[in-house]
């Protein structure tokens, strides 16, 4: 018995040791898992911030071309643009390493973000290729137009990588939310609140570059800035006006409703994203042109319909008509949100005056009352379609666990 008793004693301590080992192993694994998860998330966030910086630099570059006609590749907007690209490259490296280590550790969960990795890496590859091509293009042909092969590659790369990082960030947020749900009441309320706040900030960071880069794509195929000494890439004036009338309201509604859906349908995220977009436009397009500074109040009031759309969506939660109505409101203000660059598009069709930087506002305000009745119908319709599509995409992304 004594012997048996001793054996029992021995086996109990052995089990304790084993339990301790198992516990420490699982704790170490969960710390490693958290570390790699964080690494992937940080990588995605850096890519999104990088693309946001570089698209904002691109927007400033357009303004700089209009105002100063820079004659070399080395300009301040280009420096901002390519610093953003460098940051996105760093983010993609961090993201890729995090994902690879997770995959090799047998975390099958991380097969889902594969699409985001593919998009980010292919986008970054395009950005890397576009830089030297852009430099050579400047050297060979001097001042380049908005639509040119290097610019198109650059913008496609931005769209791909920002979409990839948006997916990556939101998949991480979903996973985090899923694990929080499993924890249930055990988790601390403060911590949960903090996590939610961080996830909302990440949602905003993830959506912004997608909006600005897609905005740039529409501008590239509609703004008449692409005729140069060697190439005439300007789009047909009527086609450009139709494209702008259809695409801008669709994109604005799509992005704002997508962000509302990704931000767990809470009031505020749509408004913050709208406000950031307005701020970026103010800093990169309006303030550099001194003659437009007086028109800042006109531009700032655009936050009113954005807040209204946000209120409608959050109060009348998930109702089809609230999505349509919010989309219609947001779509109907595209002519004001796209000020002042949209002046160049409609001027080609309606007034055909030379749009000098100092005359932009007088031409815009001279034609707004004539144009608005013509574009309001398609703008509302496309706004509604954009809102529905955005909401559905958001639902699709948030339902991936």
């Amino acid at each position: 018995m004594k012997h048996f008793g001793k054996k029992v004693e021995y086996s109990t301590s052995n089990r304790k040791k084993k339990d301790f080992k198992n516990h420490s192993r699982s704790a170490a694994r969960s710390i490693l898992d958290l570390y790699l998860h964080m690494r992937f998330l940080i990588g995605c966030t850096l890519v999104s911030i990088g693309i946001c910086v570089s698209t904002s630099g691109g927007s400033w570059d357009i303004t700089n071309h209009l105002l100063n006609k820079p004659e070399t590749f080395f300009s301040a907007p280009h420096a901002i643009l390519y610093s953003g690209v460098a940051l996105a490259m760093l983010g993609s490296a961090v993201m890729f390493q995090g994902w690879r280590q997770h995959s090799s550790a047998g975390q099958h969960y991380y097969t889902k973000p594969k699409i985001s990795i593919i998009l980010v890496l292919s986008g970054i590859a395009m950005l890397v290729v576009a830089g030297p091509i852009d430099f050579s293009w400047h050297s060979a042909f001097g001042l380049d137009g908005l639509l040119s092969p290097p610019h198109f590659i650059l913008l496609t790369g931005m769209i791909a990588s920002s979409t990839g990082s948006m997916l990556g960030i939101n998949l991480c947020i979903n996973r985090d939310a899923g694990s929080r749900d499993k924890e249930g009441g055990e988790s601390d309320l403060m911590r949960t609140r903090q996590r939610k706040q961080i996830s909302h900030i990440l949602t905003i960071i993830s959506v912004m570059p997608v909006w600005i880069s897609l905005d740039g794509l529409i501008g590239m195929f509609s703004l008449p800035f692409s005729n140069t000494q060697y190439f005439h890439f300007n789009p047909d004036a009527s086609v450009a006006a139709v494209l702008a009338t259809i695409a801008y309201p669709f994109l604005i509604s799509l992005i704002l409703c997508l962000s509302f859906r990704l931000g767990t349908k809470r009031f505020g995220i749509l408004s913050v994203i709208g406000a950031i977009y307005l701020m970026i436009n103010i800093i990169t397009v309006i303030i550099p042109n001194e003659s437009l500074i007086l028109t800042l109040p006109f531009y700032l009031v655009n936050i009113i319909p954005i807040i209204i759309a946000d209120t409608l969506l959050s109060v009348l939660d998930n109702k089809f008509y609230s999505i349509c109505f919010a989309g219609a409101i947001v779509g109907s203000i595209f002519l004001m949100i796209q000020y002042p660059l949209i002046t160049h598009i409609y001027n080609e069709v309606f007034t055909k005056q030379p749009v000098w930087p100092s005359l932009t506002s007088s031409i815009y305000f001279g034609m707004i009352s004539k144009i608005y009745p013509l574009i309001i119908g398609p703008a509302i319709a496309m706004g509604m379609v954009g809102a529905i599509v955005g909401y559905k995409i958001g639902h699709r992304i948030t339902s991936i666990d």
């Binding site: 100063n68 001194e290 006109f298 009113i304 209120t311 409608l312 009348l316 930087p357 100092s358 305000f365």
Partner: protein
Amino acid sequence: MTIHFFSSNTRTFILAVGVGISLAFYFLLSIYIFPNMYRGLPKLKPIPVISNVTIYPSIVHLGKTFDFNVVAENAGDNADIQIISIAFPNMTHLDGLVGIKRSDFTQKPVFIKVGDKVGSDYVGEESPINARYASLEFFSRPWHSTVIHHLQLQIRPEIVGKFVIFLKAIALPHLNDFAHYPRRGIKDFQNEFVSVYSLRVA
């Protein structure tokens, strides 16, 4: 627990009224009040002035060079572009004959030879015509109010006799008669006023 002070219908009604009023206020501002306010704003009036011109020496021997100095300013509001055009009616090209010794303009100058497209009637590229003689265009984009720019050329005339130089300044957008310099006198083939300078080549 959320406490509601109103019934569901009342809340919807309040929301609808709030949204309606806010949207009406927004569209009133954006489509009517602000456009009317901004349309009434005065347009910028840049005033280009050529404040000093010097030619040294006043007589030059064939094969030798002389210096042509210009000081120009904008005495009015900011100009989107202001151009200083120096034309040489005795020359068909500038290669090896005109050199830039000094220039503090923000853009690179444009060398124009016979047959190149140039603007006319003070509307720039809106009304292009072919150049009849060689010229050189210096410009800054933008040219801010009260800013002064300098340029110094070294010119080597090709033939003996009177060597003529046409000089003019244009601010764009050209909205009134103050946007060009000189404001009267001789007109060149571009239908724009020019100041005439000359020296003897011996």
